[in-house]
Symmetry: C2
Subunit: 780 residues, 2 copies
């Protein structure tokens, strides 16, 4: 599509990615490509047990192997623990007293090459006392169940109980109350680039860490604490990153800590590259979750109340679970008006690899449950899925007004109704409704869903971010940001914003990737925050630089700074544009006149709608987002009723309200990627199969994802709401759309076959049995 | 000495160097220590001729040598020339049509190791047509002399003719007019660290250059032009630098260009380390100069007029000669009042290695000539050297007033009278006067001199500099500067300024060395500008950061920002200091409150006394300095009257007006280094001996410098004038003192022996013959 929005030179159009050329020509250097002189290779010794006490570790044979330069074990870290916050810092760089999941890191080796390091790892003798484990929440919650952490009784990691309005009263007043339990699987993050790190100590007081980290200021803080150094002495450098989706690249790994420790011990750089096997067996996964939704509606299908119960398998360590469980609940009051809401969340420790954030974090689970249930309710009431959604959807607040949910979530713009209407129109929903199509063994069906996502996520600390725009003397521009592009295209957005504000071209902007010695702090790539927060900082930094230049221009033209502007690299007097000069000339004048200027623009994010304060996790109130995106989508599936195989057709439309699409192409591909690749994947394909803590399918043959030919073509409709709290009106794109795909596909399967799949993914076997059961029931 | 000045926590005292530990423990990485993975080594093929036409270069044998990865010649640079400014850009990275000095670079090779690269260099076959050359200004100025540059008739590189007041009239009115010609030698810069560079292209549009450059933004600009890249794409990184003194580390070498070109050709990093032989034969040298001073005085010894003629050997290329010749003249009107002044400068091209700046740049030559001549005049008039100096010295202007010289040089503070008085008192000059001491063959004598130097040098462009102070969340502080410490201790000064302003400790400041991708632009280390300009930027950047923090503190205490201050890491309410909190706590509050702040302080140099505009080289008017230091010194020598060997005794005192000594220890060691090491060296030891363009003593045995035991102990007296244009009142230290050593030592030799050495250095042979001649004259 060649749509353009707004009246901008660069923004609101399809902008080519600034990193495209480097990536397609193979010039882009990823962390695993980094070579440093005199470098050693590291490997991790991992536990074969999912739960076991470590009785002894004998590293002597490993140390004696020629080529081995150093060995480290957990004890070297002096009891250091890290994690979400104070009391939940429960994880050691390498396990010390016991291991809590299979393949947890126990020791690490640095050697002259990878094979020697691996050989040495195999020579490390660890005496384990195997312990009984817990591998599901239901096992974990049993009275007397083995404890994953001795100091965490009941294996409870996170527990929330919120109550807004009067749910019981509302249920009593409801025409229909329905309760269903849904289940979402353990999923891989799916990055193809393996996590990798090269670390060294340039002197005994300083760490340099080069690694694929989407939130580089996390290792900055954690390594400073771990090695007891001032933050200033920890230098995190990020190369190009090959995607993350909320995985290990947003967090620490045993390799991260071990690289730094082994570099310290050897005085040489140490490199680790995680294998696909290690990544698939140990990296963070999406939480498996059991969501029970009880919903009361009026006869007309108006939502009266929802009671939500979420039970999650958090895995061995806390990691980000407190946020996950908050997110599962908080946006239940969007995108539909919900006057009464109750939420009970239980996240259990188990002896599985840790669970954590993944694209669509939190909302993915509850939105799936609630939106599918909405279709069940519609069916019971004889309502159309689009109709029930339009009835309940939040209206777009008038400019200057705010919609406030019962749990104090504040929405300045909401395009969900427009999204629903446009999708319904695009797929010709009315005409299609009830027209089931069956060809031979193939049943076609269409489903509908709507979703939302918080963008510009704000946490209780570490929200600050800033940007610096330096104008070089020849007019080329450096953009310094602490924000990282993990593949979502934020480097392009940032560069485009800076170019747009300065009135120059995209190619004039050179974005300097994160080097924490120099770039300003930024929380990183998570919670759809980069465009909103780093984008705000970028805008302000560019405006600051521009105002310094306009002052010089005004002097040159003999007018006031407000009377001059810059567009397409021309600096001109607004009232008489024939009085103008080239951008480069203005910059030269500014830099070389006496006293010469150094043009450094500075911008800070002020975090948008922060007047409402931050969210309170324990009470469940307040905003986690700066603003909120909305999505509607219709998906068509074809179901082979003999085999249960579900395929998505190209008859797919998604409308997304990202406020304003800064880069239309990026929004489209992000929405397509979120919805029709990872969304379909979640709905139909992906699931880690486990047996007592062991991952049964740790490879990309058995852990199946849609191939390119299995991912349908998708139409993306832009819905513009121009949010006042995002830069140029922008809100997030892709996490919301990741949440609407599973319910719309499950509803489409139902539309095609009449069966409800409440337990994702709708893999052939599951659909096959459901169809068989339905047929048998029908035959009875 | 443990003197302290001013009322500061850190400044005005002896501050330990921030880089001392890294340097003494050997952890400091110099450019030659840098290793990059996959690195090649480079070597330069150099011309054996001082002047020759290049007929052909055959690199085929070199290219065929196993291990050779690429060869480059001057033609690869497409005619690119660089140099001082437009019309004087006369130098190519590698010679193309002809070579103009011996060992000029002609080709370069990158190979797997240094020896292979050298072997390949030796295999390059260059056909030369030797040309007659010119090797002194007197040869160069001959009618019909061979031309070094075909387009520069008469071999004139720079010529100035200035005339202030009425010199002829003043001479006519003078009681005594004296004319003498003095000579200063060709000197090495004397850095022990060899110039070295590692360059690579991270992608086809980007250069990374890691090298020992005191002015890293010079290669930044020059490499961008040479390789036709935006400035943003040229990344200059400076490691620790092992001194410069105005040499090749402030300028480009064939190795610099070749490293980048060969890295481009090979796609691999290329490293060059210059050998001591190459450095001593080809690196920039102090200009050999012939200075004729004609001075008229009243009967009382009051200066009426000076006419100065300077003839310099500029060597093969222009380099910085236009500035040199300006500096030789401009400060002739300091430190003594001079109402009439005439200056004629001639800088000639010769077929010698290029001459350029060196510590005491320019003033060193003319101050030597004029101050020695002042003693000659004093002797003729029967005046005391101290008396004649005090009579003529410029008084310290009252606060707010400015002393303006006849050539529009503006002086806000001048401590020369105090310097002279304090030195005279310290050496007990009056008692000593006329008391010649002779012990056996050893004659003792004492000489006196005064000097000045411009600090905060300002050129016509590239004066801008800035600094960034980032406060990390734990209270540690990053200081980002484009200024480099080439050994003078500026990193310590900058860190101390930032710590003083912020009210924290020196060790809390972590100065990030130059990386042009991130650090703000700065002209670099030359012209005693770093403390004055970068120091101003540092002060302002720290003040900016502090004001952001004080705002937060004021909110916390419920007072106005002006009512809070920070000292010794305590933030307190000024009126009730018991209301206070720790620095770290304030920073945490600022960074973690919502919206969290990112504390980035920004500061620019505004170049002090710039209301007077910049100097005009052709007219000889205006300020090259932001402010001016003053110096007086008394030196005692012992002369072996049989051998002519001159030694400096420990009876040496120097008083230096650096405005305010930010780091007393640094001022003392800089003054000692400038005066009693490099100054003595210039007076008594150093000289390159040449024969038709060939350097005869290119090693540190034959090119003699004083060993540590030959450098006397020295008393340094601080004279405080608190200049309004320097940060905390500071002006330069060490370049001025480098200028007072030669005249005071030459006067001391005269005091001891009665002979005047007008031709530096006063090496034994020269003194021996002078004494012999004097004895013979006496016997007649």
């Amino acid at each position: 599509m060649d749509e353009t929005f707004g009246n901008y030179s660069i923004l609101g159009k399809a902008i080519p990615r600034v990193d495209a050329r480097a990536k397609v020509t193979g010039q882009a250097k990823y962390a695993a490509d980094i070579e440093v002189a005199n470098m050693l290779w590291g490997q991790i010794n991992r536990s074969p047990y999912a739960h076991a006490r470590i009785l002894n570790i004998d590293t002597s044979k490993a140390e004696a192997l020629p080529g081995v330069k150093a060995v480290t074990t957990g004890k070297d870290f002096g009891g250091f623990k890290w994690g979400w916050s104070g009391p939940t810092r429960d994880e050691e760089p390498l396990a010390v007293e016991k291991v809590r999941y299979q393949y947890e890191g126990v020791a690490a080796v640095a050697a002259v090459d990878e094979d020697t390091a691996q050989e040495a790892c195999d020579l490390i003798e660890v005496d384990y006392e195997p312990l009984p484990g817990v591998f599901t929440p239901s096992e974990a919650m049993q009275e007397g169940a083995p404890l994953v952490h001795d100091d965490r009784p009941g294996n409870i990691c996170v527990e929330y109980h919120w109550n807004f309005g009067d749910v019981d009263k509302a249920f009593a007043e409801s025409y229909l109350v329905r309760e269903d339990t849904f289940q979402t699987p353990r999923m891989a993050k799916g990055y193809l680039e393996p996590p990798a790190v090269v670390a060294y100590w340039p002197d005994p007081e300083r760490i340099v860490y080069i690694g694929a980290k989407g939130s580089p200021y996390f290792p900055y803080r954690i390594l400073a604490k771990c090695f007891d150094l001032p933050l200033s002495n920890v230098r995190i450098i990020t190369p190009i990153i090959g995607s993350d989706f909320g995985g290990t690249k947003n967090d620490m790994t045993p390799a991260d800590f071990s690289a730094v420790m082994l570099a310290k011990k050897t005085g040489r750089p140490v490199k680790f590259v995680t294998s696909q096997f290690d990544a698939l067996t140990t990296d963070l996964r999406r939480h498996p979750m059991w969501i029970t939704v009880k919903t009361g509606v009026t006869k007309d299908g108006i939502l009266k109340a929802t009671s939500l119960k979420a039970v999650a398998d958090g895995g061995a360590y806390t990691r980000i679970s407190p946020l996950t469980m908050f997110l599962v609940g908080t946006c239940q009051t969007l995108p539909y008006k919900l006057p009464n809401f109750k939420y009970d969340a239980y996240n259990y420790f188990t002896n599985n690899p840790s669970s954590a954030a993944m694209r669509g974090h939190g909302l993915y689970h509850s939105r799936f449950a609630a939106d599918v249930q909405l279709d069940m309710i519609a069916e019971e009431l004889g309502l159309d899925p689009v109709e029930i959604r339009l009835k309940n959807s939040i209206e777009n607040p008038k400019p200057g007004e705010i919609y406030e949910t019962v749990n104090d979530v504040h929405v300045a713009t909401c395009g969900v109704q427009e999204c629903i209407e446009k999708v319904a129109e695009a797929v010709n929903w009315k005409a299609r409704k009830g027209q089931k199509k069956v060809e031979g063994d193939t049943a076609y069906g269409m489903g509908f869903a709507a979703a939302t996502y918080n963008s510009g996520t704000k946490l209780s600390a570490h929200n600050a971010c800033a940007a610096i725009v330096r104008v070089c003397e020849d007019g080329s521009v450096n953009y310094l940001t602490g924000a990282t592009d993990v593949g979502q295209g934020s480097d392009t957005i940032m560069s485009a914003i800076v170019a747009e504000v300065l009135g120059i071209r995209l190619e004039d902007i050179d974005l300097k990737r994160v080097d924490s010695a120099f770039t300003p702090v930024d929380p990183g790539s998570y919670g759809s925050r980069v465009t909103v927060h780093a984008g705000e900082a970028a805008t302000k930094a560019a405006e600051d630089a521009k105002s310094q230049l306009l002052e010089v221009a005004a002097q040159q033209f003999g007018v006031k700074p407000g009377d001059v502007d810059i567009k397409d690299k021309k600096v001109f007097v607004k009232s008489s544009p024939e009085r103008n000069m080239a951008w480069e000339r203005l910059v030269r004048i500014a830099c070389y006149e006496t006293p010469g200027k150094v043009i450094i623009g500075r911008g800070y994010s002020t975090q948008g709608i922060s007047m409402y304060g931050l969210a309170d996790f324990s009470k469940g109130v307040g905003d986690i987002g700066t603003n909120y995106s909305f999505t509607a989508q219709a998906s068509e599936v074809e179901v082979d009723v003999e085999t249960g195989v579900v395929k998505c057709t190209d008859n797919n439309v998604i409308a997304h309200d990202c406020g304003f699409p800064l880069n239309t192409q990026a929004v489209e591909t992000q929405v397509q990627g979120g919805s029709y690749h990872q969304g379909i994947s979640a709905a139909v394909y992906e699931e880690f199969k486990m047996d007592s803590g062991q991952t049964l399918n740790p490879n990309l043959v058995d852990y199946k994802r849609p191939r390119a030919y299995e991912a349908p073509m998708t139409q993306v409709i832009h819905v513009i709401t121009n949010d006042p709290y995002g830069p140029f009106g922008a809100k997030e794109a892709s996490e919301g759309s990741c949440c609407s795909a599973p319910p719309s596909i499950v509803s489409a399967i139902h539309d095609a076959t009449g069966v409800w799949i409440k337990d994702l993914p709708a893999q052939p076997e599951k659909v096959f049995w459901a169809l068989k059961k339905k047929r048998e029931k029908g035959q009875k």
